[in-house]
Symmetry: C2
Subunit: 374 residues, 2 copies
Amino acid sequence: MKIQDLPTPSLIVDAPRVRANTAAMRTRIDGHGISLRPHAKTAKSVDVARLALGGEPGGLTVSTLAEADYFLGHGITDLVYAVCVVPSKLDAVQALMNRGADLKLITDNVEVGRAIAAHGAPFRVLVEIDSGEHRTGVAAADSALPEIAAAVAAGGSAARIDGGLTPAGHSYASRSAAEAADIAEAERAAAVLAAERLRTAGFATPIISVGSTPTATHARSLAGVTEARPGVYVFQDLFQAAIGSCGLDDIALSVLASVIGHNRERPALMLDAGGLALSKDRSTGALEGAGDCGFGLVCDLDGNPLDGMTVGNVHQEHGEVRLGDAAILERFPVGAKVRVLPNHACMTAAAYDRYHVTDGGGEITATWTRCNGW
Amino acid sequence: MKIQDLPTPSLIVDAPRVRANTAAMRTRIDGHGISLRPHAKTAKSVDVARLALGGEPGGLTVSTLAEADYFLGHGITDLVYAVCVVPSKLDAVQALMNRGADLKLITDNVEVGRAIAAHGAPFRVLVEIDSGEHRTGVAAADSALPEIAAAVAAGGSAARIDGGLTPAGHSYASRSAAEAADIAEAERAAAVLAAERLRTAGFATPIISVGSTPTATHARSLAGVTEARPGVYVFQDLFQAAIGSCGLDDIALSVLASVIGHNRERPALMLDAGGLALSKDRSTGALEGAGDCGFGLVCDLDGNPLDGMTVGNVHQEHGEVRLGDAAILERFPVGAKVRVLPNHACMTAAAYDRYHVTDGGGEITATWTRCNGW
């Protein structure tokens, strides 16, 4: 089947770009001498995960227990659930472990640490460290750090501390490679300090984990950490291109849409890709200058961006592409198809249950699954 | 099972509120002496549709062919697909008709009208009318109106014109009942004028359809139209409450979330409901004054709004609730559960494959299905 024969809206993945993005990240992280634990929250797909792991055995990061269940079902057992666990989820975690998952949890809270110890199952726990994002996690120098570890491992506990983990979501506020590299260094330093403090307190730290595509891409050194957890790099997106993580030509994800109407007064093209098909993510709107792509950047069927054509407004099933000149309407008759690059690949992909895969040309060569929900 | 025993995030529906919302709209539309064709795009659920139809046979509006397929599978055959069709979708429409769907299409384009006629199947078509939203549709006075109808019904065509349909999405810009009533009157007048022009041109108009929750709620008269297509009223949401379509107490949809962390510095509660679980819809952010609820309004487990507690920021799986006072953290220990009312019910519900239904108390009494995708 050819791309233009798919129903619309459909989610398209350019496999050569995924292979290139994943190979580049493997090379980069290999160069640091540490492990790559791709964050599966972007693609939520075993096919993409296998490319990200380069066909080797390896571990993944997940953002939901539904992802853990899905990847376990595909034989991937080494998993970090990188959202702070709560006691009510421990039974579900134990059930996954009983099925063979080597599932590591994270927490930043002494009370949760006590609940993990009291549960009785042999949970493996990383303390979440705040390296500057100030969302979740404890500061590396915080007295709570060894207290949380001690709560998890309190006398007789079957649970154990396996190290520390820090996200660097604030790297999304970087606007250059140099800024991302500076944040990466702060992230690394915090993780290393936390690990030292855990070891001083008597805990082993086989896993010292840092994250994020911008920091993994631009880090000058990852000395002292054991693994990196970038996620969105597998697909990249308009936001990552805008902040310097990639080029537009690296973006592997797009939404196939039909032109369903001409609005001659605005003038505008109407697409059948709206707020559900593209998501309502407006992250590029926070960028200064020309980086604002509305709800997505319109490309031709070959994936080439069309100058100045962005989805400026969305309704549930309608996307509106304002045009500078009504004459452009004639190039896109009703029924014509276009591809729309997403602001934020993780959000856009979540509306779909599968990927239609191209070899970079016009043919659909495979279908890849993904999991959704919780 | 009790609400607090559900995994988080989960989607909760308060059935008594759905019954009240749907009964009120039936009474209102019955009072106008016209038919109610609920827009199923909000709930995408046969259980909600049956309540909306009051247990009577009746028709629905759908926004995707996936919804048409789902409702047809549940025995509901009278359907309007209220997004402009494109020629590439006509085979799929015909397949649904062959399975028994009485599926009406809409178009605002002469070329599509010709393609519908040329296809050869007995399609039933409504011309989409622009009553002021200026998104899709032709103006009621536009010369294109009879041209589109003539294209559909051109000599020998098995397809036929069944009337006209207009959305009034611009009613979402109303800020009072009076403003919504004014837009409703403009919508009605445009639909009636278009119908007169179609009849003058020799076309029957058994269906003259108007839409939107604000206009269906506040219309002074719907004389001359045959049906109304409100959608979000089944659940209502924060945006509808803000513009006067309902009260906060009418909102039937909420997301159950766990407190997964305390951020003492901000201070803030962290929830496990983020951009995916709540959607990134920020429609209340466009409201002046105190109407901005961030990404959702936090309620206790009984559904009572907690003063001033909104989800101010989201990451993929994290929602951040800023607090004026760190002492409030003690009321919500890690592991506590809350319910979050959505800005836009249609967008939030789309992340889930089912509804957990309460009787208005603390028990989950049923599970309702929904369909997603395209």
